[in-house]
């Protein structure tokens, strides 16, 4: 874990180093990096191009705030623009008619059926509504059974009808709801490709018959370049009212959210964050922006760090770091400071370069173990780790309830970290690194 962390941090240090004055050149390089990052996030190429043109013209006019590097400022501007674009206007559901009708549409496998059930559960729990689910996907084998099972598990009735005629099912369902007093009807339709003329006509007709209050298109967050074409076509034919982005519990960057919003102007209303039926969230533009950009918000990191860290202690620590007198006491102190800021992963997410790295997993449990081990050291051992011999290790292991090899590993990590810090110090003296990144004035 620590080897990884060191790697990530040194990467972040590189990005954080000061660059002095803003030049067209260093913005151009940052711009290239942002572009690459957006493309890796599967934001549609044409959207990236247009969006970045706009942002760049804005960024070039702006002055760099003191104590922030041009890179940081640029990333911040991009981030703000992304939030702006993703946010804005209405995000809630507009359910005026009684019964209100919600139509779920989208490509195959995007998660319509699951979202339909999640939405029913959400409306029931959060808004006290009395929903009816309608199984109107008559094509995919067992799609109806799937919705029936899901409905049962959240105690929401599912209208099935004659299983063959999707128009009849939709129409009868609305009458059924009126009769039974269901005040919101969620219609699950079949997945379809936007180029499948026959199927697109089918969903148009269903929309015509039911006059939905909301037509929500479900988008898989893993979607690639082409899905924005599907979104545009669904919107052209159905005039959708918003999107639900699914499978965000994975590690996809979700660029499709940006592309879809950019091209159609329609809001993202919900996100799916797990397989359980209560794992539906309202949409937060800021979270999505940072996920898509994948570069973190340097400025907010600095702000957050400044807010939370004890300035004096950090200055002292920095001095010690520079002299490479880093002891386990400092280690412990650092852990405490980090914990104050929230989970380590949430802090790491804010460091540019980190979220981009693949496979990063911060085991928060391990941090607790590390703390336990350090707590089991004597004062002397913490200040002077060199004296920790085998018998001391054994005692520490017993005291912390961890294994001997874990203790040894931690001490090894500590030595590596010390070495690394020494190298940083040297580089800095030679002026290769610029300012130490976490410096507080």
């Amino acid at each position: 874990m620590f080897e990884n962390l060191q790697e990530r941090l040194s990467e972040a240090f590189k990005l954080l180093k000061g660059k002095g004055k803003i030049t067209e050149n260093n913005v151009r390089e940052a711009l290239r990096q942002v572009k690459m990052s957006l493309l890796s996030a599967d934001v549609n190429y044409k959207v990236v191009k247009e969006f970045m043109d706009k942002v760049t013209s804005k960024a070039l006019g702006e002055k760099v705030i003191k104590s922030v590097t041009p890179d940081q400022q640029f990333v911040k501007i991009v981030n703000d623009e992304l939030i702006d674009l993703l946010g804005g206007k209405e995000h809630g559901l507009d359910l005026k008619s009684r019964p209100s009708i919600i139509l779920m549409v989208g490509l195959q496998g995007s998660g319509k059926t699951t979202v339909a059930a999640k939405l029913a559960f959400w409306l029931k729990k959060k808004s006290g509504r009395n929903p009816l689910l309608v199984a109107d996907d008559i094509y995919r084998p067992a799609a109806i059974e799937q919705l029936e099972i899901l409905g049962k598990s959240i105690d929401v009735p599912v209208f099935v009808g004659d299983r063959k005629d999707s128009y009849k099912i939709a129409k009868e369902a609305v009458n059924f709801a009126t009769m039974k007093g269901n005040d919101v009807v969620i219609v699950d339709t079949a997945g379809r490709l936007q180029i499948d003329e026959e199927m697109m006509k089918e969903v148009e007709k269903i929309a015509d018959l039911t006059k939905p209050d909301e037509i929500l298109m479900v988008l898989d967050s893993m979607a690639g370049q082409d899905v924005v074409n599907a979104a545009a076509e669904f919107d052209r034919r159905l005039t959708i009212t918003g999107f639900v982005v699914t499978k965000l519990d994975g590690d996809s960057r979700g660029g499709v959210a940006l592309s879809a919003k950019y091209v159609t102007g329609k809001s993202i209303k919900f996100v799916g964050v797990g397989e359980k039926l209560d794992q539906l969230d309202v949409f937060y533009p800021d979270r999505m922006a940072s996920r898509i950009l994948g570069m973190g918000d340097v400025v907010s990191l600095v702000e957050k760090v400044q807010e939370n860290l004890d300035k004096k202690k950090m200055e002292e620590m920095e001095k010690r770091l520079r002299k490479a007198q880093f002891t386990f006491d400092d280690f412990q102190e650092q852990l405490k400071q980090v914990k104050k800021m929230g989970s380590l992963s949430s802090v790491l997410e804010m460091i540019p370069g980190v979220p981009k790295m693949k496979n990063i997993k911060v085991d928060e449990d391990q941090l607790v173990h590390v703390e336990a081990i350090i707590n089991s050291m004597t004062k002397e051992e913490r200040a002077n780790p060199g004296i920790i011999n085998f018998s001391r290790k054994k005692r520490i292991a017993a005291g912390s309830g961890r294994t001997l090899s874990e203790v040894s590993k931690l001490i090894k990590s500590y030595e590596n970290m010390k070495k690394m810090i020494k190298q940083f110090g040297k580089l800095e003296k030679r002026g290769k690194l610029g300012k130490f990144p976490f410096q507080f004035k």
């Binding site: 490509l107 195959q108 496998g109 067992a142 109806i144 490709l193 370049q225």
Partner: protein, 292 residues
């Protein structure tokens, strides 16, 4: 390599026929602007920033007809077509793995239909006991293909389903067992371990099994596919990819990066919703479509 050269020769013949857009772009020599257009085309096909840059770099550096360079680069990246393997000692076992909604159950059904048609004795195993009605869905496919389905109830232990299916195949002279597993995001460690367990159970019954572990990938997804392939490969060792939903307008260009980085070939493509809409992957045709 001989095979590859054959393919390249084959491509030469179609020089003016296929590859409409890309080829007309670079005819008459390349310029920086034209290269940018090619890169745009590649990026819009989900080839991804790194691999498309690699391709453009090749075009910039290598001498000769730029059309040839582009084609050959793509063909070299994809390599020789590879087919599904059969176990010398029956039964042959295929497991289908992938994230949610990629098309595993549909692919299982189509595969069963195909090999049943070819005269093999096939069974399907419903090892997705998690998703509501996944078992019913597979049973419906079993009906269409005329193939029995080994299934337990929802929520059952998937290792036990796999065990029963392979055991049944061994004692009844079944040629092919196709195991449909639950969709799982590769980021969920516990679910990945469940998959590993299925494989352990199978290999205990019959060594060198499963014969094929196929990752089912939706062609409409983007760069996350590479990470999926990486993690699934690490966990259960992939032997190939089934690229589904290629009947839409998505090109599936991310398979270039997967082959380049991980060496995993695409073996099958899904091009529609009916039973016969599953084809062997053809590098030649894929490259055509990519550059169309």
């Amino acid at each position: 390599m001989a095979m590859l050269n054959f393919l390249k020769r084959g491509l030469k013949k179609t020089k003016d026929g296929f590859f409409g857009r890309a080829i007309s772009m670079i005819k008459g020599g390349i310029t920086a602007e034209k290269l940018e257009d090619i890169q745009e085309l590649l990026l819009l096909s989900d080839v991804g920033p790194e691999t498309s840059e690699y391709i453009i770099e090749k075009m910039r550096k290598e001498k000769g007809d730029p059309v040839e360079v582009l084609r050959n680069t793509l063909i070299d990246l994809l390599g020789i077509d590879e087919r599904l393997k059969f176990s010398q000692i029956p039964p042959t076992v295929y497991t289908l793995v992938g994230v949610n909604g990629s098309g595993k159950t549909t692919t299982a059904g189509k595969l069963a239909w195909r090999f049943k048609r070819d005269g093999k004795r096939v069974i399907l195993a419903a090892a997705d006991t998690f998703r509501a009605a996944a078992i019913e869905q597979l049973k419906e496919w079993g009906k269409r293909a005329g193939v029995p389905v080994i299934a337990h109830q929802m929520g059952a232990d998937v290792g036990a389903v796999a065990y029963d299916a392979v055991k049944h195949a061994i004692s009844n002279g079944i040629d092919l067992v196709i195991i449909d597993t639950a969709g799982r995001l590769h980021t969920k460690d516990n679910l990945m371990r469940e998959l590993e367990k299925i494989h352990k159970v199978i290999s205990k019954l019959s060594s060198n099994q499963p014969t094929e572990t196929l990752l089912v990938l939706d062609a409409t997804i983007g760069q996350n596919a590479i990470q999926q392939a990486r993690i699934f490969d690490k966990s259960v060792g992939l032997t190939g990819i089934v690229l589904t939903k290629l009947d839409g307008t998505a090109k599936g260009g991310m398979i270039l990066s997967i082959k380049k980085e991980l060496g995993i070939p695409v073996k099958l493509i899904g091009i529609g919703e009916s039973v016969e809409d599953l084809r062997d992957f053809d590098t030649f045709k894929f490259v055509d479509a990519l550059l169309e």
